[in-house]
Symmetry: C2
Subunit: 334 residues, 2 copies
C-alpha cells in the first residue's frame, strides 16, 4: 500500500519551516516476526517534538535527518507478526508521522475504543495525562488547601494538572492565552481563577488571584511567566519544570529565570520532570484517571485537525497558542 | 565609653560606595535587665550583607536607614544585666558593625576561646560552616562516589562544603579565582581537582575535571558559572543555591540561568537554602565539625583585616574576590 510520511529534512534554526520537512511517498512493508503493521489513525502533536528536531543529547535521542518524524499515535493493527497482537486491535505506539507503520511490537500497547474515543489515548489517557499526573503528584507534592498555579492551563497537560489539583483539594489558578481558553478553564474545568496572559499583567494578576502566594507552580511555558511566578512563591514552594514552549524556537539563548534567587529567599525548589521515568506506574495513573473521568471530575478536550498533508503547518499551531485542547492530527487514507 | 559605629546611610544602587555608610561616634549605654554590654572583637563580613542593604522582603528584614549595620560578631561581655552571662564571657551574637554593643542577651551564645581562636566562630564554627554543613548534607544529599562541584571553593562556605564532601567519600572539584586560591584548595584542602575561573574556560575544564558529570553543585556565585555547570549535570543532580555573589551588585536584572532546561532533561533539582532554618540542629553540626577539625580533616582559614574604620573598603574585598578565607574585621579599641 502507498504510505505517505513526513521525514525530518533539516535541523531548524528557530521556528521550524516547511523546508525542514520532506513529504515522502513510499510503500508499506509486511511485518516480520515480532513486528506489526499499523494503520495510523491519530497522530499526537506535542511541544516536545521541537526538541527532538535538535541535534545533541537530550532526555531522548534526536530524530536523525532523513528519518520519519517521531510521534506517538494510535491506530489499528492490520497485519501482525507478533503473538500478542491480531489484526483489528486498536493500539498506541511511537508510530511516527505517517499513514502506516511497520514496527516492532515492543513498546506498543492495546487501547480500548469502547472506553474512550481513540484520540483521547493521545491526551488525558496518554503522555500528556501521564505527564500531568506524575509531575504534579510526585514532584509538585500538592497538599489540600495549597495554591497551585499552572501555565498552559487550557492545554493537554495543564488542563489535567489543574483538574487533578482540584481533586486533591487545592486552590487552582490557571494561566492561559485569550478569552475563549480562559472561559473554558473556569466554566468547564472549574479552576478557582484564571489569568489571561495575553490581556493581563501576569504579576499583578498573580497578586490578586493568589492572595496567599503560590505553593506549587507547574510550568509549561518558561520565559516571562516563570519569572513572574517566581516573584510570588511561598516558603518551600515547588516549581515543576515540565516544558518551556515560549523558548523552544528561540534563535538566541533561552531566557533563564532572572528571579531564580527567589528560590534561595524562599528555600524553594525547581525540578525537572520527564514522563517516561514513570512508565512502570502508568497503570495506576490510568486507573485513577479513568475513575475521575467516569465521575465527571476530569474532562478532556482534543483539537483534531484532519489530513496528514497539513502536518508542518498544524504543528506550528502549538507554538502560536492556536490549538485549544490536545492537538491531534487525524490521518486520512484515501 | 566612646563607641564607633557604621550606620547604613543610603540604599546602594549596584556596588556599595562610601556614601552609603555613615561613620558615627556615640557613647556606650549600660545594659538594663536582660541585656549585656559586649566589647566587640571580630566582626564577620559576609556576601549576605549586600542583600540586607536592599529594601524589601527577603528571608530577613532589611537594615533600616540610620541603623547600625547588621553583622554577626564575637567579643567579650564587659557588663551583664542577664543571669546567664557574666563579665569576661566570650560570646557570639548579632552585634553589628561597632566597637561595643548593648543588646538583649536573647540569641547570644557563649563560645569557648580554649577550643578555637575567637575569629573561627565566625567561620567554620559559625554561620558559614553551618551553611556548608546543612546545605550540602540536607539539600545536596551527596553519596559516596558522586562528583560534587563547589564554587567559591576557597571561601568561607565553599572550603567547608568541599572538605565535608571529601569526608563523605565524594570526588570534589572546586571552582576558585586565581592560582593562589586554587593551589590552596588542592594542597591544603585536598580537593580532587580545581578550576581557575579567572584563567580557564569553565565549561571545558568541567568536562576534563568531571569525566562522570556533576551530581551535586553547591553554588555560591551564580551567573556564568552556574550556567556552565548546568550543561554538565547528571541525571537527578542536586543544585544547592546558597548565594550568587556575581550578581549582588548588578544594576540591571540578575542573569538567570539560561541553561535551566537542563533541569528538565536531567530530571534535576535546584533548591535554595537559608542557614537559619537549621538553628535547632546547630549543636549536632558543631559537634561533627569540631570532631573533624580535631582529626585534621577539616581546615579553616580566616582573612583578618584590622581596624573598624576600614569597614566600607574591607567589605568590598568580598565582591572583588580579594579575600582569601573567611573575611573578618578585627576591631580596634584605642
Amino acid at each position: 500500500m502507498k504510505n505517505i510520511q513526513w521525514l525530518l529534512a533539516a535541523r531548524p534554526k528557530g521556528e521550524p519551516t516547511r523546508g525542514d520537512w520532506k513529504h515522502n511517498e513510499t510503500q508499506t512493508r509486511s511485518p516480520e516476526k515480532g513486528e506489526i503493521l499499523v494503520k495510523v489513525e491519530y497522530i499526537s502533536l506535542d511541544p516536545a517534538m521541537r526538541g527532538w528536531m535538535n541535534e545533541g543529547k537530550s532526555y531522548i535521542e534526536p530524530v536523525e535527518l532523513g528519518d520519519v518524524m517521531r510521534a506517538g499515535a494510535v491506530g489499528e493493527v492490520i497485519e501482525s507478526g507478533d503473538d500478542n497482537f491480531s489484526a483489528g486491535d486498536k493500539v498506541y505506539g511511537s508510530f511516527g508521522v505517517q499513514q502506516y507503520a511497520t514496527c516492532s511490537a515492543q513498546g506498543v500497547h492495546k487501547v480500548d475504543p469502547e472506553l474512550a474515543p481513540l484520540e483521547r489515548y493521545l491526551g488525558v489517557l496518554g503522555m500528556p495525562g501521564m505527564t500531568a499526573y506524575f509531575g504534579l503528584l510526585k514532584t509538585g507534592l500538592p497538599e489540600a488547601g495549597e495554591t497551585v498555579v499552572v501555565s498552559g492551563a487550557a492545554g493537554a497537560v495543564g488542563s489535567v494538572v489543574g483538574q487533578i489539583a482540584k481533586i486533591k483539594g487545592c486552590r487552582v489558578v490557571g494561566i492561559a492565552g485569550g478569552k475563549e481558553k480562559c472561559d473554558y478553564v473556569m466554566s468547564e474545568l472549574g479552576f478557582d481563577a484564571v489569568i489571561d496572559y495575553k490581556n493581563e499583567d501576569v504579576k499583578k494578576a498573580l497578586r490578586s488571584t493568589c492572595p496567599d502566594g503560590v505553593d506549587v507552580y507547574f510550568d509549561n511555558v518558561g520565559g516571562e511567566i516563570l519569572d513572574a511566578v517566581l516573584t510570588h512563591i511561598n516558603l518551600r514552594a515547588r516549581i515543576v519544570i515540565c516544558g518551556a514552549i515560549s523558548q523552544y524556537n528561540n534563535t538566541t539563548a533561552v531566557k533563564g529565570p532572572s528571579n531564580y534567587l527567589s528560590l534561595l529567599v524562599n528555600r524553594a525548589r525547581m525540578e525537572g520532570i520527564v514522563v517516561f521515568d514513570n512508565i512502570k506506574h502508568y497503570g495506576e495513573a490510568a486507573r485513577d484517571m479513568s475513575g475521575w473521568i467516569g465521575q465527571g471530575k476530569l474532562k478532556a478536550k482534543e483539537h483534531v485537525v484532519e489530513g496528514i498533508d497539513t502536518f508542518p503547518d498544524t504543528l506550528m499551531m502549538l507554538f502560536r497558542g492556536e490549538n485549544f485542547g490536545k492537538l491531534v492530527l487525524k490521518v486520512n487514507h484515501d
